[in-house]
């Protein structure tokens, strides 16, 4: 394999990885911090794409679309958290009911989207400024893909900064370890959790809006991204943004080169990677704790 092919495949894998990470980042926040198994994360991704489509149809501006997607998905997320998820908090077998509840959200949101926007596919066009592509010799990379890579880096750095360098982040981390204790200290824990849920779903919505110019906006597209995102979150270690980023890179690049070497089996590689990682690092790649059960 020549160096050029390597670079071209590597850059392709990088942009796949960053989109994977964008979708998964919100999930790792909910999963790791709020301890909510949000099966419907993909539905917020889908919702974001539709909100963005609607806003662009009204205002004809891609960036207003992105803001609308994040705000809209975040608000829907907070509403669902306050109306439903909070009400089962602390219940015995809370986790199981979260699965049931968030799965119900998938069913409902799919139909709501179909009811409002119809079954036909929708499309979002890239903004003019990002529509071109850059050429380095024979290696081409679209500007929009570079923008996605940049956006992924911005998100991982700001998430790291907020969670580990600000007071708010420390409260969130503390609340995820021992919410009762934080509550005793006078922090409104349920407000914090609603906020975290809102931010996470807003990230899902933003990812949907950012991915839409490269994909199809259609009902049912939400469930298609959820399994890949789960893989990234789990390999990276729950709640670990750098871990999720690394996992997304791993999956993206393994796929990119797998397509060259074994195109027949490439679509199964993500699962194979997850199996190998979990067998050797049972709590994901970046966990401090010992993953294996002490028996």
């Amino acid at each position: 394999m020549s160096f050029e092919i390597f670079i071209s495949q590597f850059l392709g894998g990088l942009s796949v990885a960053m989109l994977l990470f964008l979708v998964a980042s919100g999930l790792t926040l909910i999963f790791g911090v709020a301890k909510v198994f949000n099966f419907a994360h993909g539905s917020f991704y889908m919702l974001g794409a539709y909100f963005s489509y609607q806003a662009i149809a009204l205002f004809d501006n891609f960036w207003i679309g992105a803001v609308a997607a994040a705000l809209g998905a975040g608000l829907v997320g907070i509403a669902l958290e306050v109306c439903f998820i909070r009400r089962i908090a602390g219940r015995e077998e809370e986790g199981a009911f979260q699965i049931l509840l968030t799965y119900a959200f998938i069913l409902i949101l799919d139909d709501v989207v179909k009811f409002i926007w119809g079954p036909a596919y929708k499309t979002i066009t890239k903004p003019e400024s990002l529509a071109g592509s850059l050429n380095f010799g024979t290696v081409t990379i679209p500007t929009y893909n570079l923008f996605i890579i940049f956006l992924g880096l911005v998100i991982v750095i700001s998430a790291w900064y907020v969670l580990s360098r600000t007071r708010m982040g420390k409260i969130i981390q503390a609340a995820s370890t021992d919410s009762q204790m934080v509550g005793v200290l006078g922090v409104n824990v349920s407000l914090v959790m609603s906020l975290v849920f809102g931010v996470a779903t807003a990230m899902g919505g933003l990812a949907g809006a950012m991915a839409a110019p490269l994909r199809t906006v259609a009902p049912g597209t939400g469930v298609e991204v959820i399994i890949d995102s789960l893989i990234v979150v789990v390999i990276g270690g729950l709640g670990n943004f750098w871990g999720a980023l690394f996992a997304a890179l791993l999956i993206g690049e393994v796929n990119a080169f797998g397509i060259l070497w074994m195109p027949q089996w490439a679509s199964l590689l993500s699962f194979a990677v997850m199996i190998v990682v979990l067998i050797f690092k049972p709590k994901g790649l970046f966990s401090q704790e010992k993953g294996r059960k002490k028996i």
Partner: protein, 414 residues
Amino acid sequence: MKRKTVSMLSVLLVCFTSTVSFSAETIKIGALYPMSGRGGLYGQDSEAAIKIAVGEVNAKGLPGGKKLEVIVTDDQSKPALAVTLAKRYITEDKVKFLYGVVSSGAALAVTEVSKEYKTIFVGTDHAATDLTANAFQKYYFRVSNNTFQSMAAGAMYMQETKMGGKIAYIGPDYAYGRDQIAELKYSLGKLGVKYEMVGEFWPKLYEPDYTSYITAIIKAKPDVLVSGFWGGDTVAFIKQAKAYGLFNKMKYFHPDGGGNYEVFSTLGAECPEGLIMSARHHNNWPETKENKDFVAKFKKATGRYPSYAAEGAYAGILVIAEAIRKVGNADDTEALIKAMEGMKLHQPEDPAGFTSYIDPKTHQMVQAQAIGVTVKNDKFPPAKYMLGKFKVYPADKIMATQEYIDILIKTKKK
């Protein structure tokens, strides 16, 4: 305390056993389509087209003053659910015909039900050649064309336009994707077209991100990229590949589902020029009165232009009505089959001077196929590009040969 459990369960029992009675004045057709998710558009368009056809048939009248009634249920493209629904249609709703089905996997399961219950099944959308070949049974008919017809026409197009040389293929990783390239290779071989495969790529169905496939295809340097996607996957692939300049580096050839209208309506101005594609029905070809009328009626009823799925769903109802008129009733299944075998029916998609007919041997509708090239055309908004410069392939030249059917029987043993 337990009494409540028992009473609740007895309510379930009542639900089980209750049957609904229907008037004998209608002839029922049980249709199965996906109404939600990715394939939902095809189901919705089919339902709209069925309504138009049923309205026309009932206005014209059927023997004995009967009326057609079509029940449409969401099969979610799941084989197990489709079977359950098909059995319910037959045993409970007493339908005379099973109808529709988009997913080939579901259709293969439903055709078994049709055989078991001796109920005619008119397929309008699924394209697996198997159904009229190795999995054929006499109660099955298909009014839309199968992938073999598309790919045979594709091979003739390639021969005619001297496309060949290095070929790469990308298609969804399931039977529909695999059948297309196998059938194209077979037809190219028959025509003696020389080619060399330089890569086959198999992303999963509904793959969101094709970037790594695109870079790999560009590196394989094919002269022609043959594509086997459908629907949203075509849209996503084209959008992503365009930014990489893929369409300037090779010819893009997509002879079964590339030219579906929903691809053009979604891509709008982003559609590249010069892609070579076809579909099972075109809104702008043939330019006959029948086709223009059909498209206009659909637009009037729904406010949008039809995807390819609508025409098949429309034509199937006309076939059924014609058979009932010939036989005089809908109760004599064997006579209906005889009436449908060899039936000639002018469809919206028939070019001037040609009339589709049902092949008596395989029960496959024999249709012409037109392959075109994307050109600017905004007569069907929101599409900005449509196919043009059509080349037409005669219906009898693109049917699956007995030799190919034998190969399928030998290798697939359904």
